[in-house]
Amino acid sequence: MTRLFSFWLSHRVELASLFGQHVLLVAGSTLVAVALGVPLGIFSARRPRLASPLMAVASIVQTIPSLAMFGFLLPVPFIGGVGARAALVVLILYGLLPIVRTTIAGLRGIDASIREAGVAMGMTPRELLRQVELPLALPSIVAGVRVAAVVGVGSATIAAAIGAGGLGEYIYRGLSMVDTTVILAGAVPAAALALVVDGALLWLEKQLSARRRSRSRRTAVTVAVVVAAVVMLSSAAAARRASGAIVVGSKNFTEQLVLGELLAQAIERDTGLPVDRRLNLGGTLICDRALMTGDIDVYVEYTGTALTAVFHQPVSTEAGAVFDTVRTLYAKTGRTLLPPLGFNNTFAILVRGSEARSRGLRTIDDAARESAHWRAGFGYEFVERPDGYPGLATTYGLRFPDPPRVMDLTLSYRALAAGQVDLIAGDATAGLIKGLDLFQLDDNRHYFPPYDATVVARAATLLRYPQLRAALERLSGRVSAADMRAMNYAADVEHRDVPVIAREFLARTR
């Protein structure tokens, strides 16, 4: 609890900004959903044949998990991609259903004699709608807006996965750092926001159904003023992004967050250009797509990952060849691969440090001799991958008495340290290697393909800002595996703040 409050206190500027982004996402998407949903509801309330299929489609849309929805929208031009725009589109789609539904219900719930009285008094359809139908349906419509806004507060946390910002950033950051405090730092304000929105709109709904027109008019004006004020304040808080800023992206795990922050600070310090951080994007393909469309300008990719996952080329183990292939493929698609940062985040075959020292183990060949009385534990992915366990066993002649235990990657580090297994395949730069005193055996037969961490940037952006290229190249060869491990350790094990870690590293290397 104290940790949570001190986290908020130390991150209050960022918290305010993320909170502002969150409010803006929800308020903006809800307003648009009202602007689209109410007319749509009015339209379909008068055409029952249209209403049912429309509601069916809307219900189906509603059942698509929001993360999947973000995924669908990634390749769509104009509305898709990463960032707040795509998030708004998704949130609007989710908000439409309840609003359309309650608009229809509100209009259909009006007593036929009231409507008939209006028509018989000589109201035109428009007059009937504005003076009778809408005022009477308003409490029902507001109920729909309430549902839309509350659902929006929840869905907006997921929007952080595509770099839209908001309180979800803390949740994702906390998940990747396995740090409950950070998760709560985002989840608690989001829940509070949902409760406040729910309460406020419920109050409004009750005011409106009290049938006191003069009072409800005053209420409506009050609410409109409050909403406008909140939106303006949050825009001010969220409007950090200067136009023409360099947008730095990253994937959604600790090392990538550190590297993203590192790039951002290096650019800010060396070029003075404004930087917009779109860290925590949901994976390799999202980053690649974002770089392609210009939603981000630069991020750190691993050569082996680019080769197989981005360009679908066969696995190769020769580091120089892989780098050249990937650089050429990037160049053909308008991206520039800069020289590697200096560490290879490959698979690391790990043993306990104490064992390595006592038995004098240095290479995987050394370990192969011991394998007959060892137990191995691997993550799910390593067992399946073309560059995973089967090839490794063949290359080094590993012969374990039992088939390897398949376990969660993060758990396997602890299982090794605790002596439950004797050999695992981890990430070469994992902070836990240092934290748990593990030892990485040398891949002396060069079985694993290279995963050299390398900055990739949009060629157009580099052309426009020559000083940007210089700033990024200054990092080439400067981040060793030990450096990266230490920074991951600081973030994952010591729970230190990523911007601070990056700042200290840059200060040391200048």
Partner: protein, 290 residues
């Protein structure tokens, strides 16, 4: 002779896929006349009213309002010249009494300083002191008061024609009798052309200059109340006998306090055809005491 206020000329009307509600129906209502249409539920009474203000158009024949075919009337103009009072009143629940009465004047674009005195005048006319009632809400009114507001609202822009669809049907007998009195008082001042639809023969006789009896989409009788009450036309007689009666207020009172007390509304008000305001040879309708 002047153009009749409302004229049905050979009007037929059917809801889609249903038997005809009206079949070559003809009727003339003179200006300033109160016509009551009596008939059982489903006889086509409400349909008749909706044909007048063009909520419906006839399949065959034509309806003329002030000498003009409703098809030629611009519907909005027509409806604002024809006041309409519904059984369930249809007051707008989100508007105050004053705002309800002011709806049509506002639609007509009256200035605010003309609307306010008019609303005041109308509320006084229907017996609801404006001071007390103007700012109330429909759900704070009794059924009778709501019906009065409904009448005031229908009269707001002084339309020459008033259509009333079972206007007092949902009220208790005492309130109903009271409103009948009010109606006669107002009508004696305003001389509107009125069509009242009702299933209560007593009400028809209490209010109307002429009573029409509607059965299967045809008018089987249409004349002064006393003539209709004396009719020997078997269908009319049958209908008269079958029509629901409400106990005469005096009967109710007498049940508790015998003999010495008459009903508040006196002789206008009655069960079945036994009494009518202008009853002449009404004896034929009298039942032997039971």
């Amino acid at each position: 002779m002047a153009v009749p206020a409302i004229e049905f000329r050979g009007v037929s009307f059917a809801r889609l896929g249903r038997p005809r509600i009206l079949d070559h129906f003809s009727l003339t209502v003179e200006s300033g006349e109160v016509l009551a249409l009596v008939g059982r539920s489903g006889a086509g009474k409400s349909t008749l009213l909706k044909l007048v203000n063009r909520l419906l158009l006839p399949d065959e024949g034509a309806v003329f309002v002030e000498g003009r075919d409703t098809r030629e009337w611009e519907p909005i103009r027509l409806r604002r010249r024809v006041g309409y009072v519904l059984q369930d009143v249809g007051l707008f629940p989100h508007m105050s009494v004053a705002d309800n009465v002011a709806v049509v004047p506002r639609l007509e674009g009256w200035a605010a300083d003309r609307i306010a005195p008019r609303v005041h005048e109308l509320l006084e006319l229907v017996g609801l002191p404006a001071q007390e009632f103007a700012t109330r809400w429909p759900d704070e009114l009794s059924g009778g008061q709501r019906q009065r507001v409904g009448v005031a609202r229908a009269l707001a822009v002084d339309p020459p024609v008033l259509l009333m669809d079972e206007p007092f049907g949902a009220l208790d007998p005492l309130t109903r009798a009271e409103l009948h009195g009010e109606f006669r008082r107002i009508q004696s001042r305003l001389r509107k052309t009125v069509i009242i639809v009702t299933h209560d023969m007593g009400e028809a006789f209490a209010l109307a200059d002429r009573v029409g009896v509607l059965e299967d989409g045809r008018l089987i009788a249409c004349d002064r109340p006393d003539v209709v009450a004396a009719s020997h036309e078997p269908l009319v007689r049958q209908l008269l006998d079958a029509l629901p009666a409400i106990p005469r207020p005096s009967d109710v009172v007498q049940a508790f306090r015998p003999a010495d007390h008459g009903g508040p509304e006196g002789p206008h008000y009655s069960r079945k055809p036994s009494l009518s305001p202008r009853r002449g040879s009404g004896q034929a309708g009298e039942r032997p005491p039971e």
